[in-house]
Symmetry: C2
Subunit: 276 residues, 2 copies
């Protein structure tokens, strides 16, 4: 088919290409190349350094699954921190939860927030929720400066290259552990079980060393390499597999549900192998 | 990256491209264009009419999930039929199951079988199993000619275009119902819940009309559009969700397990909507 195609190199031997209708925004920020394009298949799409971050069509999967499992595992997630996630999708889901009183978003690149507000209103709507406070700063610094503060901390980052590398280190996870309350829960997006096995192994080993409980959450994000994606969870006290089904808030979600809460924690043998 | 890239148009606005090392085979058969290429990311890959059918790296997901849920739902799956699946991967999984006595493969295109034997031995190995009988014929005709014969029938077909269209019709499902024993189970690959919603809705409605029980099985196949894939199941008597966990055969599988048997039947709300 004719037309302008956006192509992402997902790994050295794999590319995904999307037919585009329009380039809505492009800029070089202080941190990364930021773009929003409109595509035939997935609608408007946020790109950072040429990598698909989220799209109008499939964003619900990622944003629900990075937040809802932890929020429904903690009995009282009043204060929640999101590091990264400047598009607002994750904080939108968090703000939905009736038990959340304050949701803080710390995004290093203010241009991501501004651009999402302008071109991705369905996703950035959460940023205007009265429960939400947006801070443009370095998430690592914020975590260091706020000990014993948050019930849930979610790291909604880009891939572990460039600005995000520090967000995948054991040292950072130790700081997260300190920033959590004594029964706090941590979740981060941790890439593909098909293409990033060593990364996931290392992260889960770190979490097993630092937290009482470490789990892997699976969900399918069509625009990510291979589709199958992982979120790593570290918990000081509460086990997401031992949640009382009836205690899970029934919210307006399209991927997450009371049943999916548990099924997303079931690992096929080839994924289970990655666990310590 | 330089090199020769194979590109599949997965839908009008979406393409996947794989860096190739070598084209091992290419021919125009009586039914379709048949090729085997060696790729950097997924190893050797079987293509029919330019569409990825299976690859060495990820074939285990599809072949285990199209067969194991049904085989472990039926208490005594002695006689099993596979329509299509000429690569041998599905029959390889079926032959693994201790309760299976005879597995019949009916593939319309003998060249698929011959080519898989030559270039995809890890997948086609099942074709040489003593339990397996290979028939090169029209699967629809075979089903019409064999009433009340099979405990499990699996339709391992290409997409619903060209030669496979008839394999997605309610009329064919009625013939399958007749070819099954009185407590038989039917499974077919039924495309993507992101990109083929109407197809899946129609199939599930047909199965609900014809069978006592209809279910959707989910699995993640990285080389298929969007990753998330469905298998539709119709059963005369046995409900895959009511299987006794301990009765599930523990075989050498990489995606399927006793726990995955049940988690694969849990549908996110946006997929549940497709069910009648």
């Amino acid at each position: 088919m004719k037309g302008l195609w956006f192509t992402e190199r997902q790994n050295p031997g794999l590319e995904i290409s999307c037919l585009t209708k329009k380039t809505l925004h492009w800029e070089k920020t202080d941190y990364q190349e930021l773009a929003v394009i409109d595509t035939e298949t997935f609608g408007r799409m946020l790109l950072l350094d040429g990598v698909i971050q989220t799209t109008i069509e499939d964003e619900f999967v990622y944003h629900e699954m990075i937040s809802m499992v932890a929020l429904n595992t903690h009995p009282n997630p009043e204060k929640v921190l999101v590091i990264g996630g400047g598009d607002g999708g994750t904080i939108r889901e968090i703000a939905k939860h009736p038990k959340v009183k304050e949701a803080v978003l710390v995004e290093i690149d203010g241009q991501v927030v501004e651009t999402a507000k302008k071109y991705l209103p369905e996703i950035s709507v959460g940023l205007d929720n009265p429960k939400v406070r947006v801070i443009i700063d370095d998430g690592i610094k914020h975590v260091q400066d706020n000990e014993n503060t948050y019930d849930v901390i979610i790291v909604d980052s880009t891939d572990p290259v460039g600005p995000a590398v520090g967000l995948f280190s054991g040292e950072f996870y130790r700081q997260i552990h300190k920033a959590l309350t004594p029964d706090g829960i941590f979740v981060a997006q941790t890439e593909s079980p098909f293409f990033n096995k060593d990364l996931i192994k290392g992260i889960q080993k770190d979490l097993a060393d630092i937290f009482a409980i470490n789990k892997l959450i699976l969900a399918n994000v069509p625009t990510y390499p291979g589709g199958l994606w992982t979120f790593s969870l570290g918990s000081k006290k509460y086990d997401p597999e031992k949640v009382e089904r009836e205690s899970i808030a029934e919210l307006d979600t399209k991927y997450y549900s009371r049943d999916v809460h548990f099924s997303a924690l079931v690992l096929p043998p080839f994924v289970k192998e990655l666990m310590p």
